[in-house]
């Protein structure tokens, strides 16, 4: 992640302008927008000049591609299973190589970002008592603070309590006695149809866009969040945008073409341009890398929580929260994993084909293997699998907890 923005991000401006779609999905070429606002979800697309997420790129600094001529190919693919290629498209043996080349060329992937100028990062080994990652307001005095807003990112916890951090031209290997994680939360995607429409975003992202000074005054926003957050949301956003709905009930559907147009909550239909979801999946990746066990929690909308957290690691704030989220009826056509365009019905088909292990289903469908590495989708995928009778074992935690530019890792080695 790059340094913080003091002006609206590409995605913030796009949302404010009523044309939130800045990216497209990998397989189906569906339009997508900035869901997380902090570079973790991979939905908004990347700046071709830097390879950075558009939600971390100031508006005006990167072009936004609005048209996707390949969406026409995504449409028929919507009816296929993720492994459609296995028996249909690719049968003519002699053409196989060329078919694949064509398929590969059709993907919505960005081009090769240019290699950044500048020398290799300096490697520095730091020994500290307490390392604090995340919200500096929650840090104990004396702790070394890794703050994303200051351009520092912790991307891994390795052996010997070593936390790897990239920060302005340096790669820090921090050996710590104690690791405090105030890393906040990701979106817990609710399994309703339309959950991937541009304009559906994490409440945190909307607050971030507002903080960047995006002019959201004309934006009609529906907020869905647990009741105890409603007052704070209204206070923070009431005069920044048009709050057309603040409720705890998850919409029965989110409608629109190319972007959100309205939500249906029971008998009520609310016209809106954005749906801000205050549904948090605690950001526990670093705790899992440090040795905690991920388990699927309970409640109507379960999230993955950290269990058996090692005694030298502490989760704080929303990363530690065990909020009870409102539930909804899972819909087969909703997306469970937007990175790889996997719907609940695809998971159902994988289970029906006889796969009973999360790891097998993950590899079969691609669920949880995209750029977000399960941060946004794991709760939705595991809940769906649990409901299908599969043991919801979370995936093996691996670095990188945040995507990390190779240039930022390429420290000078002796050999």
């Amino acid at each position: 992640m790059r340094a913080p923005l003091d002006s609206p991000a590409v995605t913030a401006r796009a949302l404010a302008d009523g044309r939130p779609a800045t990216g497209r999905s990998f397989r189906l070429h569906r339009p997508r927008s900035g869901v997380c606002g902090n570079g973790t979800c991979g939905q908004c697309g990347t700046d071709p000049a830097t390879g950075d997420a558009l939600c971390c790129t100031p508006a005006g600094a990167a072009p936004v591609r609005r048209r996707d001529p390949l969406r026409a190919l995504g449409l028929p693919a919507e009816r296929q299973l993720p492994w459609f290629w296995e028996r249909r498209l690719l049968r003519p043996r002699a053409l196989r190589g060329r078919y694949l080349r064509v398929l590969r060329g059709l993907s919505a992937a960005p081009g090769l970002p240019p290699a950044p100028a500048g020398g290799p990062p300096q490697r520095r080994v730091v020994e500290v008592e307490t390392l604090h990652v995340g919200d500096p307001a929650r840090a104990d005095p004396g702790a070394l603070v890794v703050d994303a807003a200051a351009g520092a990112t912790a991307f891994g916890v390795y052996a010997d309590r070593t936390v790897a951090v990239t920060a302005s031209g340096e790669l820090l290997e921090v050996r710590c006695e104690r690791l405090v994680l105030a890393t906040g939360a990701h979106l817990r995607l609710p399994p309703v149809v339309g959950n991937d429409l541009p304009g559906v975003l994490h409440l945190d992202a909307l607050l971030r866009y507002s903080g960047q000074g995006a002019d959201l005054g004309a934006l009609r926003v529906a907020v869905i969040a647990p009741p105890e957050r409603h007052a704070a949301v209204t206070a923070a956003l009431g005069d920044r945008c048009r709050l057309v709905h603040v409720g705890a009930r998850i919409p029965d559907r989110i409608d629109g073409r190319g972007r959100v147009r309205r939500i249906a909550v029971g008998a009520e239909a609310v016209a809106c341009d954005a749906v801000a979801l205050g549904l948090d999946q605690p950001a526990i990746e670093l705790a899992l890398l440090a040795g905690a066990h991920g388990v699927l929690g309970d409640g109507p909308l379960p999230v993955v929580v950290a269990d058996a957290v090692p005694d030298w690691v502490e989760l704080r704030g929303r990363a530690a929260a065990r909020e009870r989220l409102p539930g909804c009826t899972a819909q087969r056509d909703a997306f469970a994993c937007p990175c790889e365009d996997v719907r609940l019905r695809d998971l159902e088909a994988a289970v029906a084909s006889g796969l009973r292990d999360v790891e097998l289903i993950k590899r079969r469908t691609g669920a949880m293997t995209g750029p977000c590495q399960g941060k946004v989708c794991q709760g939705a995928v595991l809940t769906a699998l649990r409901d299908l009778g599969v043991e919801p074992r979370p995936m093996t935690p691996r670095p990188f907890a945040r995507v990390t530019r190779l240039a930022d890792l390429a420290v000078a080695h002796d050999a």
Binding site: E86, R364, A410, H413
Partner: protein, 392 residues
């Protein structure tokens, strides 16, 4: 007596293909897997299938192995493992390397493969991703294939189930039980399972399992790490490998990700699936040196697997000595995706007919009888061949 009931340990690509072949030959087949299919190295690799090898024996079986992959979809019930063409580019940075490999050209010609030594200019022209990096002295380029490992393993697993192979997941084999000089059963976490023939396809764990039947195989596990970046449009069509200053490799997957890795010459022989920071920084640093245009890419995930090395870096396929009805199908030394399927097929034929295919002749377990169990030769790639006199 022709064995009727075959028990296979391990549901990786080796065990699953052996199971499908034995089933096709009419046997009752049980596959025992302690985790899930592909949970071993068949789900941790990058699927390079190449004919070019440094010894004639390996080259010959690799040619057969590549041909086997080209028609494997039938065995997989018509499923396509996403096999697609690539160029295997062994990039050379030392004059000694060029000399050593130049001497192998006649062997490659004689075996009919298209591997050729090229000079620096041709290398940079044919492998443009190297432009801007350290200037190579040359390369050996040859046509090769990439397979999608998960597609292959899933295809094999689903086909095995369709054909009536009894694949039992979550069952760990604890050891072999012998009687009268022959293995008669396996002891497992789900009880004792008897059979007529037993195939040890447990990869890096094969050594320990063979030991329970009193068989000594001098293999060593070695961690191999890899990392993967986000997807980008196709930028390269080659699978690059180099061995100077130490081993490194990278290529682009069908999904557009770049997968890459380097080895640590000081990596201890051990089972270890942890991801290390040193690996991540070394890999990035080596790419900075060899293919600096890739440095703007973002790494998404890293992982680790194991190579099971044999002293001569060639597999162990066939009946173990000293005990009947127990067969080894392992020791891939980093090439199991390539070699396991054809080896499994030839081994099954051997188990059922008693006739050994000439392709397998160099890979009998018996060649290690009495060989010192020495883990010292892994660090240098070419040295591994030189020390056994296998490569010139």
């Amino acid at each position: 007596m022709t064995p009727r009931r075959i028990v296979i340990v391990g549901a990786g690509i080796a065990g699953l293909v052996a199971a499908l072949e034995a089933r096709a030959a009419g046997c009752d087949v049980i596959v025992l897997e302690r985790g899930y299919p592909g949970g071993g190295n068949s789900g941790r690799n990058v699927g390079r299938i190449r004919r070019m090898q440094l010894t004639e024996e390996l080259t010959r079986i690799s040619i057969a192995a590549s041909d086997y992959w080209l028609r494997i979809d039938r065995l997989l019930g018509g499923r396509n493992p996403l096999l697609h063409p690539t160029t295997y580019a062994l990039v050379l940075y030392g004059d000694d390397e060029a000399e050593r490999l130049g001497a192998l050209e006649p062997m490659w010609r004689a075996t009919g493969i298209d591997a050729r030594l090229h000079d620096a200019a041709t290398t940079l022209d044919r492998v443009p991703v190297l432009q801007g990096g350290e200037r190579p002295v040359g390369s050996v380029l040859s046509s090769a294939l990439l397979v999608h490992p998960d597609a292959a393993v899933h295809g094999a697993y689903l086909a095995a189930r369709e054909r009536g192979v009894d694949v039992r997941l979550g069952v760990e084999v604890l050891g072999f039980e012998s009687a009268g000089g022959a293995v008669v059963a396996v002891e497992t976490t789900a009880g004792r399972i008897a059979g007529d023939a037993f195939v040890n396809a447990a990869d890096a764990h094969a050594r320990g399992l063979a030991g329970t039947a009193g068989v000594v195989v001098p293999t060593h596990p070695m961690r191999r790490e890899a990392l993967v970046t986000h997807s980008i449009r196709p930028i390269m069509d080659q699978a690059v490998t180099f061995y100077r200053p130490f081993e490194g490799w990278f290529n682009q997957t069908l999904r557009g990700e770049i997968v890459a890795g380097v080895t640590d010459p000081d990596e201890p022989a051990d089972y270890n699936h942890d991801s290390s920071l040193a690996f991540a920084t070394r890999t990035a640093a080596l790419l900075a040196r060899k293919a600096p245009s890739l440095l703007g890419l973002h790494a998404v995930r890293q992982w680790a697997g194991t190579y099971e090395y044999t002293p001569d870096r060639s597999p162990i396929v066939g009946a173990y000595t000293g005990v009947e009805a127990l067969y080894g199908l392992h020791g891939w030394s980093g090439r199991g995706m390539l070699l396991a399927p054809v080896s499994a097929s030839l081994l099954v034929r051997e188990i059922l007919t008693g006739a050994r295919d000439p392709l397998l002749a160099p890979f009998a377990p018996a060649r290690f009888d009495g060989v010192a169990d020495d883990a010292a030769l892994h660090a240098d790639y070419y040295g591994g061949y030189a020390s056994t006199g296998a490569a010139s």
